[in-house]
Symmetry: C2
Subunit: 383 residues, 2 copies
């Protein structure tokens, strides 16, 4: 069944599965225990840190494994809240993931300055430069790629601006890593990611700490993760995460160009067969895997259900928000109306998605459109 | 290789492994997504909540899956800190796990009243009654079973006293669950546990919320876990946890009596072959699996290394504390001197540990004692 909801989660990759099982068979001992098998687990855990650090151009001491991006976001923002000067303000992109917005709100509340975004939901380099030059800001939060639209943010330039101004930069790379190269993030101070977005098991993610963050501590307990995070380390999942990231980095990201062409072909088909449909963040550079579209008619849940029956799994928006009432804050920030928001579907492919899958989805959308028009006409035809 | 460090962590149980793999194959979809396969994952997740709730005499809405006991402890204590009256005090058992102490300190700091413990590290019912009757306390923290000594706390009576006084009771059951029956915990307001202590994967645990805790929220993000905890749910590990707990509840806990006799036989052998050795918390009711012993001579690391070479994996104390300098706070609270603390080993069996394993360990300890005496004599003999 063609799965087009990879931004919500991905299936466990065979390589990650194999490593998880191997760790669970051979290295299940507590890395903090005092015998040789525990030391072996400790060495494997260090290896996982090293490997993730390598892809990000960092060092193993600065990688802290966590339970995922949500925990990571809260841990970093709480650290900012504790260590920034009293009254410090932060500048935040309004199209961040809900967990980052929630964490920023808890830690800074009224002390958030919202960055303006263009109609594609993208923060401009100029806007960051201005807010930073004002001298009132201690930290900047702009994600790498948006989960709902796939729009890429100019994080590399933002990192340079923040570094030059000695302002901390926090980047949620949950949707970028595994899809686009990790290189370049060495200039980002604080980075978070989630393994299940790129083939690792659920329940594992990490934080890349900023330089000189030896004091960073979240959920203290037994001194694990070099004292940065308490709790028995989840070696199996951390090692699987490093493996899945490595697989994406070493092989898959070279396919990006081809996959981008497949996505573009799909977008053209969609626009051709659904007059009145519109691609969200159309003019932005976007992830090769993501299409967010405002459909011409009918609520998105009806489309999703009909596509599901035809064997295509797509989403109404982010999985985190799909159970909720109310329009997406991302679309609202881009000026999409509440009424239009109800007609948005999100399509997100994976590396294993084929051109035939994309073409099949385009054909299924055309069929559903016809069906919905038919249903609308027959409703209209009833006297 | 006989493994005697189950209080640090346990191997993944075959049943938990099977369920983890099944979930990863069949139900890896994001439970928040809007198609049928996601709904199936949602139903499985609900099933995991239900099953854990059932063993604890609670309801599925009150079970929140987390990344483990450390996260759980911090989440509950932060909730207490936010929701208790300003200036509220809590009464805490000083032999709690380091993560509970750290969480209590972060949330209440100077507003902690330390409960007295007897020489076995056990809080008396009388002490709880007194502190509660003073009217100055809003919450009580006493664990179910101690991780270092295995000593059981009178949690059932404490729960009744707190309930009668309308004071919140928080119980860390990480070392109890999976080893002794879960029934009876329905009277405990807040309970936390960790899956990897009873055969589930690492990186998953849970909180049992108190009644009327609808407002409970930790790491908010996408509204998961009925709004109690953000972050894509880790169905595979949560389901595996429910399975592992079920296995222990339905079968293993009936073996407790026999296992207690094995432990007692081991203790008699140890005392007989190591004159001057002493069992910690000797007179307390203790877990059937745990023996903490002060050895007559030589630092504990030397014993651990020599036992490891003979194929027996034991610990110097809690895994969480073993990397640290300084004596155990648990032993210190019981009046064990810093010098004696350096001679403590912890032995913790599992359900798969056999009587032969226990006897083998007793024999190995006697051998090591002989070897160490020989080494000490030969050192003494050097002019």
């Amino acid at each position: 069944m063609p799965y087009f909801d990879h931004n919500a989660t991905t299936p466990l990759s065979p390589a990650a599965r194999e490593i998880w099982l191997r760790a669970s068979e051979e290295h299940w001992h507590n890395p903090s225990s005092p015998y040789r098998d525990a030391a072996k687990a400790r060495i494997r855990l260090e290896g996982a840190h090293e490997r993730v650090a390598e892809y990000l151009g960092s060092t193993k001491e600065r990688i802290v494994f966590t339970s995922g991006a949500t925990e990571s976001a809260h841990a970093v923002l709480q650290h900012w809240g504790r260590t920034f000067a009293p009254g410090a303000k932060i500048a935040v992109n309004p199209t961040e993931h809900p967990c980052v917005l929630a964490a920023a709100n808890l830690a800074f509340g009224e002390r958030i300055v919202w960055l303006p975004v263009d109609r594609d939901g993208v923060v401009t380099v100029q806007a960051v430069r201005e807010v930073v030059s004002g001298g009132q800001i201690s930290g900047v939060i702009v994600m790498a790629a948006n989960n709902e639209t796939g729009a890429l943010q100019p994080w590399a330039e933002i990192a340079r601006i923040c570094r030059a101004a000695r302002i901390q930069y926090f980047c949620d790379a949950a949707q970028w890593l595994g899809k686009l190269p990790a290189s370049g993030f060495s200039d980002v101070d604080w980075l978070i990611a989630s393994g299940h977005k790129f083939g690792a098991p659920k329940g594992v993610g990490f934080i890349k700490l900023a330089e000189q963050s030896e004091s960073f501590s979240t959920q203290p307990g037994g001194g694990q993760e070099s004292g940065h995070r308490g709790g028995t380390e989840n070696l199996a999942s951390s090692w699987a995460l490093a493996t899945a990231l490595g697989e994406a980095e070493q092989k898959k990201v070279f396919l990006e160009g081809e996959r981008l062409r497949w996505r573009e072909e799909f977008e053209r088909s969609l626009i051709a067969s659904l007059p009145g449909a519109r691609i969200v963040a159309k003019d932005a550079e976007r992830l090769w895997n993501t299409v967010s579209a405002i459909l011409p008619t009918g609520e998105n849940h009806r489309w999703v259900t009909r596509l599901d029956k035809r064997g295509f799994q797509v989403s109404t928006g982010s999985a985190c928000a799909s159970g909720k009432e109310g329009p997406s804050h991302v679309l609202a920030a881009m000026g999409v109306s509440a009424e239009e928001s109800k007609r948005v579907i999100r399509v997100s492919a994976g590396w294993e998605t084929t051109l035939e899958d994309w073409r099949g989805l385009a054909a299924a959308l055309a069929e559903v459109a016809k069906e919905m028009r038919g249903a609308a006409e027959s409703v209209t035809a009833v006297p």
